[in-house]
Structure formats: structure tokens, C-alpha cells
Amino acid sequence: MKNYDMLASKIENVLHDSADLEFPDWNGMRPHRSRMTFEEAVRWNDEMLSQFPAKNKPPHLEAERRCDTEFIL
């Protein structure tokens, strides 16, 4: 995905009509459950990441990914 900034720039336009939308009742939808092997899941994850590389997160979210524990090997 390459267009995050372009996506964000649409925010202003959409703010004005979001509150006016009316959505119907979609209750009753059933979940799709899929089961894959670990190998398939890893491959799936790789493909997802290549199609949708993560955006830079705010600093406090990045900080959450850090491990404060020191491992002495």
C-alpha cells in the first residue's frame, strides 16, 4: 500500500457527511472460521505484510513494542 497520505487527505471531505449516513441492521451475519497450519499462517502473514506494509505508529505505540527486559545469555 502506498497511498496512506492520500487516504488521510480525504478526511476533511468525509467529516461533513459521516454523521448523516444511515446504516441498516446487519445482525445475523455468521462468522467465517478458517483453520490453517502454522506454515500457511506464516506465509499468509508474509503476503499480508508485503501488500500492506505497516504505517509508522505514534511513538507511544512504537514504545509498547519494545521489550524492557534484558536477557543475559
Binding site: H16, L21, D25, M29, K57, L61
Partner: protein, 180 residues
């Protein structure tokens, strides 16, 4: 592994001049929150119901769940992904489509609902769903707000969340999205 049929569906929909608009997990991905998804969610107007149904059945999909406001399709085999179609009025669809953003997946241009419309849809789902997937919806909301640096103090964003969710949901999001 379930392969997303979006490329083939997008090409066929384009040829048949059926507007394709992504919502759900792929829209969440397109707006910056990387997470797994195991189905393809599309939104369409009620008037496009028969055309969409015919298109998906043409890919070997079978209807799993048929209701006035949605159609759920099972894939032809385990190697393909399930598709959910959710219907709205023509008026709402036009608004969603007018503000949709275009992006590229697997070399094909597809349209995705705008970020704020996705947030409205997620608030609606969170508020009205009784299933455990509400947890996924609230997590999507929190991550989309943080990653896209949305300002929850913006009165119009607040109005959207309160309208499609509730004041309680808005307060929960404010609490969860507080910057340290």
C-alpha cells in the same frame, strides 16, 4: 491457505460495471492497521444485489446466509476466501462511493471506503453486534484512530462516533486513545 479473490472479483466487477467498494478487514488494512483477516467484505446498494450475487456465484461461491441487508458467500474450496456483501440504500452508497479512496491490491485498482466512513461503519458494528467480534471492532477503531492521528476532540468526528456508536463508545475511545 485461503487466497483472497479480490483481484479476479475486481476485474470482473469492472468489466460488468458493478461498483466495488471495500469495507471490513481489507479497508482496515488499507487505512494503515495491519492485521489478519479471513474474509472479504464489500458494500453495495440494494439495487446491485442480483448483479453481485450472480458475479460471485460465477466464481463458484455459494450463498451461506441470505438476509435482506446482507449476503454471505462460502468459497468454492478451502483455497479461496469467503465474501460478505452488505447492502445499504442507494443514497448512502453514493455518499460512500463519492468519498472512497482508490488503492492498489495485487496490481489491481480497487476502491476503499474513506477512513471516516470506515470509522462510522465500525462504530455501527460495535454498537449493534451481540457477538464476540465486537472486540475486533473496538480494537480496529482504537488502532485506526491512533495510526491515522485522528483528533477525538474534533466535534464532527465526535458527532460521527456518537451517532453511529454511542456517547459511551466515544468516551471509551477517548480513554483508550489517550496519548502518553
Amino acid at each position: 491457505m485461503a487466497k483472497c479473490p479480490i483481484r479476479e472479483i475486481a476485474i470482473k466487477a469492472s468489466r460488468d460495471q458493478i461498483p466495488l467498494l471495500l469495507i471490513g478487514g481489507y479497508a482496515v488494512l488499507a487505512h494503515g492497521y495491519v492485521r489478519a483477516t479471513d474474509d472479504l467484505d464489500l458494500i453495495a446498494s440494494h439495487g446491485q444485489r442480483e448483479r453481485w450475487s450472480k458475479l460471485l456465484v460465477g466464481f463458484g461461491m455459494t450463498i451461506k446466509n441470505d438476509a435482506a441487508t446482507f449476503l454471505q458467500f462460502d468459497p468454492p474450496d478451502k483455497s479461496s476466501m469467503a465474501v460478505d456483501l452488505m447492502f445499504v440504500s442507494e443514497e448512502v452508497f453514493v455518499k460512500l462511493e463519492q468519498n472512497a479512496v482508490e488503492t492498489e491490491i495485487e496490481g489491481v485498482r480497487v476502491r476503499v471506503v474513506a477512513l471516516l466512513h470506515l470509522i462510522a461503519l465500525k462504530c455501527h458494528a460495535f454498537e449493534h453486534s451481540k457477538s464476540i467480534r465486537r472486540l475486533k471492532d473496538i480494537d480496529d477503531l482504537i488502532q485506526l484512530i491512533l495510526i491515522n492521528k485522528l483528533n477525538l476532540n474534533d466535534p464532527e468526528l465526535r458527532a460521527t462516533i456518537v451517532k453511529h456508536g454511542s456517547l459511551e463508545t466515544y468516551e471509551k475511545l477517548r480513554h483508550a486513545c489517550v496519548e502518553d
